[in-house]
Amino acid sequence: MPSIDTLIVVGVMLLKVLIIGGALFCAPLPLTWIERKLAGRIQQRLGPHRVGPFGLLQPLADMIKMFVKEDIVPAKADSFLFKLAPILAMAPIFAIFVVVPFGPDITIPFIDYKVSLYITDMNVGIIFVLAISGLAVYGLIFGGWASNSKYAMLGGMRSTAQMISYEVAMSFAAVGVVMMSGSLSLVDIVTSQSGGFLNWNILYLPVGPLWFVIFLIAGLAEMNRIPFDMPEDEGSLAAGYHVEYSAMRFAFLSLAEYVAMVSIAVLLVVFFLGGWDNPLGSLIPILDYVPPVFWFMGKVGAFIYFFMWLRFTIPRYRYDQLMTIGWKIMIPLSLANILATGMIKIYADYRITDVLEMVGLKLW
């Protein structure tokens, strides 16, 4: 019989998994609404406005539609893989959130129980994230192949090539983050950037901004969004790898896409924007009372908004351009940047606040 303490630890862990999993499952509901509203605003339309106030219930209506539609498996499809693919696409992306820290430890009042706002703090967190996010591509490959359709197959192939190409650049960017922060654990990466926005990795001059841009572009390519949404290029591939999917399985695939978007936003925040760190440090005392989770969510939300904004602003790249950017620009650039980061780490490891302090300026 395990002791009460162990049971409590396991219980809290389960609770955290349930909360995060549930939140991620529900995240696409508001996100689709926001995305469609934003698309409307950018194109001077209204977006959904019929179902519920401001069309807020539109995602629910869509969900009901997805539930009751007929679930079609093409006759000559490989039905086992066809049914497995949506789960394969979804599971790895959910698994990323196992290591994501949402905030510092909090103490529950009255019972004085300390809860950490992450599920686990792996000492190999960042590699885990990269490894797991790399698995998401199987959903696309198998989905595309099992549909037994040329469009789906080509979509799957494209996404495979694209993800492999950009995973290299993304991993290099992660290496850059590890070098800047000096740890593989996501919690340590966040704490290493604490103390205001001047300490964030994005402002680790001169290499920080470059890593940020590399990670951002690679992340956009990894989650198959415009401008890199080759796998579902309507013009040439109908709908790409999910052209044969319908009803719930299609819903799962698009759920996976939305959660991937959230995960990239979360990773950007953790790696470059100091996670839950208060941007103004303790410059404005009142801001100290804002819960850190709020900052985290705010930054993630800003990135999600940015991704959507981007989607309705720029067209998609051609396939050869995509590969050129990946192999001929991003990878050499990140290799050079690794060298530069290493040099700086050895010879001039200063953040902006350090420099300011040296000239006698103390902000906070």
Partner: protein, 195 residues
Amino acid sequence: MVDIIKTVITRVLFLDFIKGLLVTLKYTLSRSITLKYPDHETWIPYERFRGEHKLHRNEDGRELCVACELCVAACPTDCITVVPMEDETGRRGINDRVAKVWEVNLVRCLYCGYCEDACPTTAVRLSRGFELACTDLDGTIREREALLTESPIPEHYEGGVVVKAKYIRKLIQIKPELWKQKDWWPAKPGRSKKR
């Protein structure tokens, strides 16, 4: 040289991207041109608009139409049918004549307004009704009784505006609330709405 430096700066700082993003941001903040037609807002056309026909009466409530069939003659598509009625008193003054049948086929009509021009008593006038959708072909023919009803938009109401509308479920009808005008798309300076 200056050009090269400029290009490099543009590329490195993603200035073109930012420019594009600003364009869409401007649109995000601008107003939407979509109307919540028909049950929240509706567009009232300008006065010159030629829509569904209406037959009119004079101040005493008498029908203006004298069944002279000039509109029939003028109509290029032959879509008006007028059959005059002679009342039982036998008097045949032009003022007393009324139409027994006055119907117009709205599917064949091309809304040219010739009938309106041809009418000596200005009985037939094209109103601003444009919601002519119907579920069967019978609905495309307007009889005299229907044509004699008043249009929801008065003749002298100045159009070119968006007004609030209400959906009346019982009548399956949209009722524009003409006095509740909405400032829809701000008129460009120098292009006044008033004539």
